[in-house]
Symmetry: C2
Subunit: 174 residues, 2 copies
């Protein structure tokens, strides 16, 4: 399980409400991890029960801002330093790109690959836009900007791969 560590990580950077956390997962860590509020709130409850986090402020609209306790910091440190990382990179893009040229007729394959190329370009542009906005706001805190960076580095790899597949297809009759 790693949701709890992602939550602890984000809260270590800055105390937040569950709502803010859910947004952070999208904008900061979205490229590497996603969680929706229906996962986050129960996890916050468990972490509080276990003494890993605590309410540091209560605000309008019954909001609770959580911060990490010493026990939580220690748990995060332990996970980062002591725990065998899970290196698996589940990638639907990967599966799709591998299957298409091998299993489909050239025409269908071209359709699938071109669509994947469009999608990955769109994602790339979105990431570049986010990066641009971060550059324009040097005062703002963007602790997980590297998640964007990771996306910006990996996407071209996959894009190149898809282009290679398309180039090979170009030599093939339909």
């Amino acid at each position: 399980m790693s949701l709890r560590h992602a939550v602890l990580g984000l809260l270590t950077w800055q105390p937040m409400t569950g709502y803010e956390l859910a947004n952070k997962f999208d904008v900061s860590l979205g490229n590497a991890w996603h969680a929706s509020h229906s996962q986050i709130y129960p996890e916050l409850g468990k972490l509080e029960d276990e003494g890993m986090i605590e309410v540091v402020a209560r605000g309008a609209r019954n909001s609770r801002t959580y911060g990490v306790t010493d026990a939580g910091s220690e748990e995060l440190r332990r996970w980062l330093v002591d725990v065998e990382p899970n290196r698996q990179q589940r990638s639907e893009s990967g599966v799709r790109s591998f299957l298409a040229p091998r299993l489909l007729k050239p025409k269908d394959s071209r359709l699938a690959l071109e669509r994947d190329l469009r999608d990955i370009r769109a994602q790339q542009e979105m990431l570049e836009e986010i990066q641009r906005r971060m550059d324009e706001d040097p005062g703002g805190s963007h602790p997980f900007a590297p998640a964007v960076d990771l996306g910006l580095r990996i996407n071209p790899v996959i894009e190149g791969w898809i282009r290679d597949q398309l180039a090979e297809l170009a030599d093939t009759a339909d």
Copy 2:
């Protein structure tokens, strides 16, 4: 859900038993997707009920070899061509590498990053070994060699990123 499409893809390439499928997920697609036999057998049952696959041979040890039906091929084609791909690249490595230098003391951070570096080098060597074996056996069919290729391309990206973090740390006192 994409397990069924990965299964259909592997079976399109070559009819197999559930057991062989479970192995293929590790060696062929493991870098992009993993599934264990306890997931695969029920999925095979469902796919058979839906007419996507069928038993094409029965062998020793009560084994059943499954092949893809026309309906299954069509479903795979539909998924590859028509369905909006899920581009999310969940990455625990990503999360770990982002968190370590930002949240830990330099000493702990160095420990965590060095461990991640070791692990990713080990994975890289494993992938290189697999690739070597595939090169030595040009007769064998390796339809998902690109999964290995994807790993071989993405790992250096993450490795470079971790090295950058370590280099920054080198300028910092503990």
